[in-house]
Symmetry: C2
């Protein structure tokens, strides 16, 4: 009874489902009101009441077909011993002890995440997406210590200390298996792995990274065969050939890969995305025509195994009314 | 008698030629000494004596096969009326008047660029590469006003004000034809267009941009058929199919495109690049093996129409000794 889960499982659809990355975010006045109740961003994410409210907002305000847990990809790093700070107006700052000194990941340290999932499930019928950062993206943050354009440190370490690079990916993969499994046990109906910085990798580097991703995804699929798993990766345009080897149910692509290529190259897997989010800065007429053009291109190829989304998350300076309109346009589109 | 020009023209080679983007840069102690003689970065670029010395450094210090004019891609924007400031430790800041108020480009306003070319040509036998930023990359800077990870403004304008976007590209193309022609008249032996931010474009956006690039390159080729022109683009991995339509002699690729694909897709044109510059942070043994692996992959496909370079420029924190070693490794590689 959920077009989102039906699309991921290849079941017949009456229309394409829609949700948006960062659908509960700063562009939404109601989000900003809730945000004002928390001391800082970490407090905001770890407050079960607030995180539950935020997660639920897009159901009522946008009418999307899935909710995504409100949290941050850096949350599960703290139990490992990595210090994470969010300074207002800046990106996150991270400080990691040497890998040998990392603590074992104990899900109970981030119990608030699982409790938020349980509360959301009590209050909504919509499928809830649990999520985490993919090992490369988390590793890139850890080695860089902050956000960056080209995440040079993780590429440096790849060429300088290959064993340490693999150990980092391995430890993150172990943590992610435990963390995401616990999200499923708490009630997550689907999972999404965010590889937001994958685009800085050459195909060669991605090829070395692939075994970690395969282990992560195949272990999760063995443990929770019924829970669809989506792999989101920036850099889809140059990495899709290798990404095919990941046993994910769905692939969320950015705007660098023409959707026809994705549909052709992943014939039995769901595709999610890939509208350039900057379309949302245009007028409604342009938004409508760009969305319909994309959906038309999809519908000419398949009528399931597709979930509408953007190629990246919503930005704080987007207009709420236009985001809402975009969701309406997708929902009105009939094959 | 120049392996660089021979490679671009597809003539037989004894070894692959090598030069490096940003080969005269802050990683070099001699560069920093010369830099200390100028008040600020703009003064440094516009001082003919200093710019000539800097341009020449890599011949003596690295033994490269080509020199590239020392300048900045933002230099020719000032005669148009765009204000450009470089604050120490930050990227550039730009302020542009409305497009209707742009001045006509007068090459004489940046005569120091052409005078630098003439002086370098008097003092070196090496081929000299003139260069400029490609219209998209310059337009992205102008609309953003500063450097950025995702250059959202130029993508926003694309969807909001398509006509203004095209007018901007058109005006920049006009300027670039005049500017680069003047560089050739001053003595440049080859030209390189830098499209450093092309990677933020979807294939659709690149397709709309293509006519401007085609006009720019074909006009320059008509005016100066003997001068090889290289198009450098970040985002090669997802844009190469469309880039093939640019009538350039050479394509300088980043590390997102496997070199074999480039060699196959551009059978009659030169390929330049594509080593991930972060290889230079590794030890010498790794540098040697990575360079030789790349050259071997090229040599299995062709023995001309290839110029060694990195996928992007050298960074200030690289070690001079390793850069020098990299050049030696390329020069020692025999087919």
């Amino acid at each position: 009874m959920s077009p989102f889960l039906d699309a991921l499982k290849g079941r017949p659809l009456e229309r394409f489902p829609v949700w948006l990355m960062r659908q509960a975010g700063r562009y939404m006045p109601e989000y900003r009101n809730l945000r004002a109740k928390a001391r800082d961003f970490i407090d905001f994410c770890s407050n079960v009441e607030l995180a539950t409210e935020v997660t639920l907002l897009p159901e009522r305000l946008l009418g999307v077909d899935a909710l995504i847990l409100f949290s941050d990809i850096l949350v599960p790093l703290q139990p490992l011993g990595v210090e994470v700070k969010f300074l207002p107006g800046e990106g996150p700052l991270l400080e990691s002890p040497p890998l040998e000194d990392w603590k074992e990941f104990e899900p109970s340290k981030v119990e608030y995440v699982f409790e938020t999932i349980r509360r959301v499930k009590e209050r909504s019928e919509l499928p809830l997406i649990g999520f985490a950062g993919a090992p490369f993206t988390l590793g890139a943050y850890i080695l860089e210590g902050k956000t960056s354009r080209d995440f040079k440190e993780v590429r440096k370490t790849f060429y300088r200390e290959r064993d340490r690079w693999h150990l980092l990916m391995e430890k993150l993969t172990d943590m992610l298996i435990a963390y995401l499994s616990q999200q499923v046990r708490a009630g997550a109906d689907a999972l999404q792995l965010f590889d937001s910085w994958a685009y800085v990798m050459s195909p060669e580097m991605f090829g070395e990274y692939l075994p970690h991703l395969r282990r992560l995804v195949s272990t999760l699929k063995e443990l929770h065969p019924e829970v669809p798993l989506i792999y989101f990766f920036r850099g889809s345009g140059h990495l899709y050939r290798l990404a095919k080897e990941i046993p994910a149910d769905g692939f969320s692509i950015d705007w660098t890969l023409p959707v026809e290529v994705a549909l052709k190259e992943f014939p039995s897997r769901a595709i999610q995305g890939n509208l350039d989010p900057s379309v949302l800065y245009a007028d409604k007429e342009t938004i409508k025509s760009e969305v319909e053009k994309l959906l038309q291109r999809v519908a000419e190829n398949r009528k399931t195994l597709y979930v509408f989304n953007l190629g990246h998350g919503l930005a704080p300076d987007m207009e709420f009314e236009k985001v809402k309109y975009l969701v309406e346009v997708v929902k009105r589109f009939k094959f």
